[in-house]
């Protein structure tokens, strides 16, 4: 809603026709002689050799999958093999046109693209640089293996490094680029510009856009490429990503020199099939894939359909698009038409396509066509060609024979290090922020909203003990704002975005005033694209940046499901700790807006390994914990309750310190000491639980109240020592009871403190149905009376107190049997 882009009704309603310009289809016409002039003989031959390497590499995998052997090597490979036999020209042609610093992101079918990118990087990097890359990677283990095992061979050690790094990764060996934690569909090696491949169709699209945003903000003159399948044009994220890269704001609103679009190329490796569904004519609406670009922006993403059976046609297109991108006029889209001769996977029986079709395409085999082209033009002779082929085959055979050997090239011994995958999951690193960002628009202390905060009391009570209004004392909203603006103004690598984050200050006003301080390129409104918001943050972070993103309502987590569950949570472990994802995802837990806006989904995310999860309930904790989250190099989900934004600090008598401070993640806090029962609360449930604990005093029940603050990791020490003393545990949260994190804690405490328990641990959450509208909300989230009822019913039945809560007569077993 920038006020400088007015929407004029007269203009809006005037009669016109929207025009789109044509999209070029197979317009490439350069002769081989012209190409020879551009690239030179050696490079044209090198291109062919790279295609052969990719082909032979995948032929080897195919052979293992289908026959259990390759040449004389026997090996059973149990993992996936999505081969791209037939698509080599697309991979190699594109890699040929890219520079080492350009980043590619791939799909499940990206061995070829990754190898091609690596080979191209090896050809262009200096020997010194290559040496230092190889020596630093995994402490030089892979390169010393190569020097030990292949010292007297004719093969370039850097090529062996690349091919073995990929193959060992596919075979899940410790020498693999990601120690075997990624495997076939997730392999990558960033020093050569090969960034993560993704087993989720379309998953790379948004991540690549985030990386392009990073390149853009760093102004480092490189581009990012998402290599996607044609099937991914049916994925929501891909459309979100295209829009995100094409948004109007870059050119219209961003300050110089960032008033250009991020350098992003969407490269569709269009083989016409998505597993067994045919995209063209069956599952998709387009007649040519490139047509989708006309739905994105007036430039139609500079889209083109190019011939993916000719590496030179692909290289030509990528070079031209790259230029457009570096001029700031992206994003661009290429529809690279090609054909995979191999099945989708090795169990594919080709039920969906005819033999004739496959046969027909065989006459367009890119390697055959290109070899013939070079022979016809006398760029290579038959003997040299045969030499190349033979050498490539020997190279692949030799390295394969060593990699399959489990003694020589073992997997990580999980039996020996049973928790090592856990160790890869979190890096627990802390980022140091030191200097003030040099791009601030205004001194923080001159901004009204910040000045107003300075006038407020730091503590939420007056000297006579009465509660101060949120207008007069620092609220949880203010305390979040203080820590976040501290980070934004002291760490230029940090960007903040989400829906309505700029002018509006975030839907709940946490960022109010920030737009006066932080330039638009670091604080901007995102489109209503929750998936792309998370996905781009991941790409931005793995490129070296940091991001704090907002999902407005935690109910919208569903819209970013894959990006949170499979990407944000997994990339650190899938990279064996190589990648860093310093991302804070803020999500508020709503109220008053009914079933789709009032869910506490903190439990849902605790189920996904790989995320730190915090949920503070007080201003003091919110400030300290958001600061720690922002310093952390691990991905952190930060829950906020809308009911608590206006809470003032009543626990910490010194109030919320004005200075910056941090609170460790994973530490709970005791809000009230007691001896008879431990009440553990998660998030906003702290307040009704405290009310209940006050009331319990009248019944001579002395309750201890613990506020969890962090869910992952969770402070079991404090809880266990409390329960060891009280012998009773009641856990209260607003998450629906079934499958909740509260139940996990209850189960664990039954194990860890069994000897001291006087009764089973009890969980109170929201009932297992929808959250009703505002006026009925109190029937949903646990109230003080519900807590009291449970204390009397489940722990102190002898007290014979009249129950008052709405659930007092519920038959919990009957409800459970009915599915509630």
């Amino acid at each position: 809603m920038p006020k400088n882009i007015p929407i004029d009704p007269i203009k809006t309603f005037s009669k016109s026709v929207l025009k789109s310009s044509g999209i070029p289809v197979h317009q490439y016409q350069k002769s081989i002689q012209e190409e020879l002039k551009i690239y030179g003989k050696e490079n044209l031959i090198e291109l062919l050799r790279h295609m052969y390497i990719v082909r032979e590499f995948e032929t080897m995998l195919n052979s293992f999958k289908t026959k259990g052997s390759y040449k004389n090597i026997e090996y059973i490979y149990n993992g996936p093999a999505h081969l791209s036999i037939g698509q080599e020209a697309a991979a190699v042609g594109s890699a040929f046109a890219l520079k080492t610093e350009d980043k590619i992101f791939g799909s499940h079918r990206s061995h070829g693209e990754m190898i091609a990118k690596g080979l191209s990087a090896i050809n262009s990097l200096s020997r010194n640089k290559i040496n230092s890359i190889m020596e630093t990677h995994h402490d030089g283990k892979l390169i010393s293996y190569i020097h030990k095992n292949f010292n007297n061979t004719e093969f370039n050690d850097a090529e062996m490094f690349l091919l073995i790094g990929v193959l060992a990764e596919i075979f899940m060996r410790e020498l693999g680029f990601n120690k075997g934690m990624g495997g076939s569909m997730h392999a990558f090696f960033t020093p050569f510009g090969a960034f993560p491949n993704n087993a989720i169709v379309g998953g790379s699209s948004g991540i690549a856009v985030g990386a392009a945003l990073h390149a853009h903000l760093k102004q480092n003159k490189s581009i990012c490429v998402a290599n996607l399948g044609d099937g991914s044009t049916g994925c929501g994220l891909v459309w979100e990503a295209m829009n995100f890269a094409a948004m109007g704001q870059y050119k219209n609103l961003w300050p110089k020199p960032f008033n250009n679009n991020p350098p992003m190329l969407f490269c569709f490796m269009n083989n016409f099939y998505a597993m067994g569904g045919q995209t063209l004519g069956e599952t998709m609406s387009w007649d040519r894939l490139s047509r989708i670009a006309s739905g994105v922006n007036p430039e139609q993403l500079h889209a083109e359909t190019v011939n993916g059976s000719d590496p030179l046609s692909v290289a030509d297109a990528v070079i031209r698009k790259r230029k457009i991108l570096l001029e700031g006029n992206g994003p661009a889209l290429l529809d690279i038409e090609c054909y995979r001769f191999s099945g989708h996977s090795t169990t594919d029986t080709n039920a969906y396509r005819s033999r004739e079709e496959i046969k027909h395409w065989k006459s367009f085999d890119p390697i055959e066509l290109y070899s013939q082209k070079l022979l016809d033009a006398d760029i290579i002779n038959k003997k040299n060609l045969d030499n190349i082929i033979e050498k490539v085959q020997n190279q692949i055979e030799l390295l394969t024979s060593k990699v399959v050997d489990r003694e020589l090239t073992p997997s990580i011994d999980i039996a020996k290090k049973p928790t090592i995958i856990g160790d890869f999951t979190f890096n627990k690193e802390v980022n140091r922020i030191s200097k003030t960002a040099d791009d601030l628009l205004m001194d923080i202390n001159q901004v009204n909203q910040i000045k107003n905060m300075k006038k407020k009391s730091r503590y939420g009570k007056t000297s006579d003990g009465s509660l101060l209004s949120g207008m007069r004392a620092i609220t949880l909203r203010d305390s979040l704002a203080e820590a976040i603006i501290y980070h934004l103004s002291n760490d230029k690598s940090l960007i903040a975005y989400g829906e309505e984050c700029r002018d509006w200050g975030g839907a709940f006003g946490v960022y109010r005033g920030f737009a006066d301080i932080i330039p638009m390129n670091r604080l901007f409104n995102a489109p209503i694209s929750e998936a792309a918001i998370v996905s781009t943050a991941i790409g931005y972070a793995i490129s070296g940046g940091r991001a704090i993103i907002e999902l407005m309502y935690s109910d919208f987590i569903g819209r970013a499901g894959d990006e949170i569950f499979n990407q944000l949570a997994k990339w650190q472990a899938m990279s064996a700790g190589e990648l860093r994802l310093p991302i804070v995802l803020r999500a508020s837990i709503g109220s008053k807006y009914g079933a789709q806006h009032s869910q506490d989904w903190s439990s849902l995310l605790t189920h996904i390994p790989g995320l730190s999860i915090v949920y503070p309930a007080t201003p003091y904790d919110a400030k300290g914990l958001i600061a720690t989250s922002l310093k952390s190099n691990d991905p952190t989900i930060f829950f906020e309750s809308q009911r608590l934004y206006d809470k003032v600090e009543v626990f910490n008598e010194k109030g919320v310190p004005e200075e910056y401070y941090t609170i460790p993640i994973g530490k709970a806090v005791k809000r009230k000491k007691g001896r008879d029962i431990t009440i553990l609360t998660i998030g906003a449930s702290l307040y009704p639980a405290l009310d209940a604990s006050e009331e319990l005093i009248n019944y001579k029940i002395d309750a201890e109240v613990i506020d969890a603050r962090s869910l992952v990791p969770f402070d079991y020490d404090m809880l266990i020592s409390s329960v060891n003393l009280t012998g009773r545990l009641l856990i209260v949260s607003e998450a629906v009871e079934r499958g909740s994190f509260s139940n996990t804690i209850a189960t664990n405490i039954s194990r860890f403190a069994f000897n001291n328990l006087k009764a089973p641990a009890i969980v109170i959450g929201a009932p297992n149905w929808i959250a009703p509208g505002a006026d009925m909300e109190k029937t949903y989230s646990p109230q003080s009376d519900d807590i009291l009822d449970s204390v009397f019913r489940d722990f102190f039945p002898e007290k014979r107190v009249n129950k008052k809560g709405l659930r007092k007569d519920w038959n919990f077993l009957e409800l459970a049997k009915k599915g509630f």
Partner: protein, 76 residues
């Protein structure tokens, strides 16, 4: 006589602070003219004159806390 009322300020917000009166008692105002700035814990808001007329009464001054529904002034 028409009241100038503190409107509903959104979810979980019940009070606001009078930031600034842009008009004084006795001044003529047009319907829709911004007469008052208020701020909540979350945001700043502009309050418009509900009708045209003369400001006959101002009930709260700058810095005062007001609740949703409070009559902060009147127009005659």
């Amino acid at each position: 006589m028409t009241d100038i009322i503190i409107p509903n300020l959104g979810n979980e917000i019940s009070e606001a602070e009078i930031t600034e009166w842009l008009v004084g008692a006795g001044e003529e105002v047009e319907e829709g003219e911004v007469v008052l700035l208020i701020s909540t814990t979350k945001t700043a808001l502009e309050i418009e004159a509900p009708v045209s007329g003369k400001i006959s009464q101002i009930n709260f001054s700058e810095g005062d806390l007001v609740q949703v529904g409070d009559v902060v002034g009147q127009i005659e």
